[in-house]
Symmetry: C2
Subunit: 256 residues, 2 copies
């Protein structure tokens, strides 16, 4: 196993750039952090190019890494801290190729979809993907303006669920048209007592649910092209629900 001991090493500098969107686009790769996520990527047959690990983490996981055929590099705690996005990184990372975007077949969209319209907070986004996975959704579509799926904080909150369902990035209007053409009901969500109370909608297998921006809700143009806009009645005095909580309540109700 090769060893890198300085944060000034050229390859470390290159991988450090993967924490920015620009760096990820340039290298067409992203960086995953912690054994749980590295292991999920390996199990999901992602193209893991390099695993960077402290001696300690290698010793813990060496038996699970016997089948890994990519490059394996030992790093020290200082480099782990430099590459990590938490205060105390575990000490194991993977550099992974960003998958080809063209793998989604538009004729094979069976199931339920969660659409993210300008969601900003990485923790919310990651939690929504994890919750979509638990609710049995088919995939999540990241609309333009929503934080990037390879952002380190989004990756951390997804906890590997991105490997269990389909992830699409794109124009929501385009995808809504496709789903409507397949006769899927498309549900918007809004904080509006005149909208349809969610619990009155019967659970189904195939549908699309759109969740909007934390502060401003869904774009008006999208609210207009949905089949129904759903509302979660607020019984107490809270002004609103957190968007990830709202998406959890809706998906667990709507998905048959």
């Amino acid at each position: 196993m090769d060893k890198i001991t300085s944060v000034k090493n050229d390859r470390i500098k290159t991988w450090k750039k993967l924490s920015s969107k620009k760096g990820r686009e340039k290298q067409s790769a992203y960086i995953l952090e912690s054994w749980h996520l590295v292991n999920e990527a390996l199990n999901a047959n992602q193209n893991v190019k390099v695993i960077l690990t402290t001696k300690k983490q290698f010793d813990i996981h060496k038996n699970e890494l016997v089948n890994y055929i990519g490059e394996l590099i030992e790093i020290n705690d200082e480099i782990a801290k430099h590459l990590g996005s938490t205060i105390t990184p575990q000490g194991i990372f993977a550099v992974v190729d960003i998958p080809n975007k063209d793998i989604i077949n538009k004729d094979n969209l069976n199931g339920a979809w969660l659409l993210l319209d300008n969601i900003q907070d990485p923790g919310n986004i990651g939690t929504m993907v994890r919750t979509a996975d638990a609710a049995g959704m088919n995939g999540v579509i990241f609309g333009n303006g929503t934080s990037n799926q390879f952002n380190p904080k989004v990756l951390r909150a997804m906890q590997g669920s991105q490997f269990h369902l389909k992830i699409i990035e794109g124009n929501l209007q385009y995808w809504i048209d496709i789903l409507k053409n397949k006769n899927y009901p498309v549900y918007g969500s809004e904080l509006n007592e005149n909208a349809v109370t969610y619990s009155s909608v019967a659970p189904t297998d195939n549908f699309a649910l759109i969740m909007g921006n934390e502060g401003n809700g869904m774009q008006n143009e999208l609210l207009k092209i949905t089949d129904k806009n759903l509302y979660i009645p607020i019984k107490g005095n809270a002004e609103s629900l957190n968007v990830a909580i709202a998406s959890g309540i809706l998906m667990f109700h709507l998905k048959k």
Copy 2:
């Protein structure tokens, strides 16, 4: 309006200590940040002793502050940054007395209660209180070991919902006994397919729901004394749900 211009001012030093539990206990006070929360505290007749505000925030809110009779102090951006818990603080703070703990009357616990068993993440805790408010719960009981209700990050995530419902800190076993004596059903929650599927339980007005630690779940001793332990079926491949999401799904189902 008095003016403080240095972070080295003795009173600023004293208030800065309110970001720690020790400081809050010593002064029996806590600090609230942002106009939304300051305003919620005023509307809820909390004992707001001092409002600290930049000139800019004062100019925006001076009409809303005409009835405020406590001390009002102008601070600058540097002090706001020093006292704030975010990267770009809004510039308005309140120093508030911690309310007397003995205000809860044990004979008047009507309604539904959320019990927090060793919940650690301040964002989760705050979101759970906000969600409990929206679901129409009567109150939240912070068990020993759960992060403190006056922690700045908990305060931020609660978004003022702490003023809309009852908050108790204490020993969960003690409160479970009291609620059981009133014949309230007490529901635990666990990641166990052999537990009771939550959707099979009929909604009611009065009940207690216990949510457990993010990593380890509820304490075993508590799981044993509940009436039923509830499970949210995971349909996809996620290992678990975030605890705040799970609490949202359960409360919105269980509360009539």
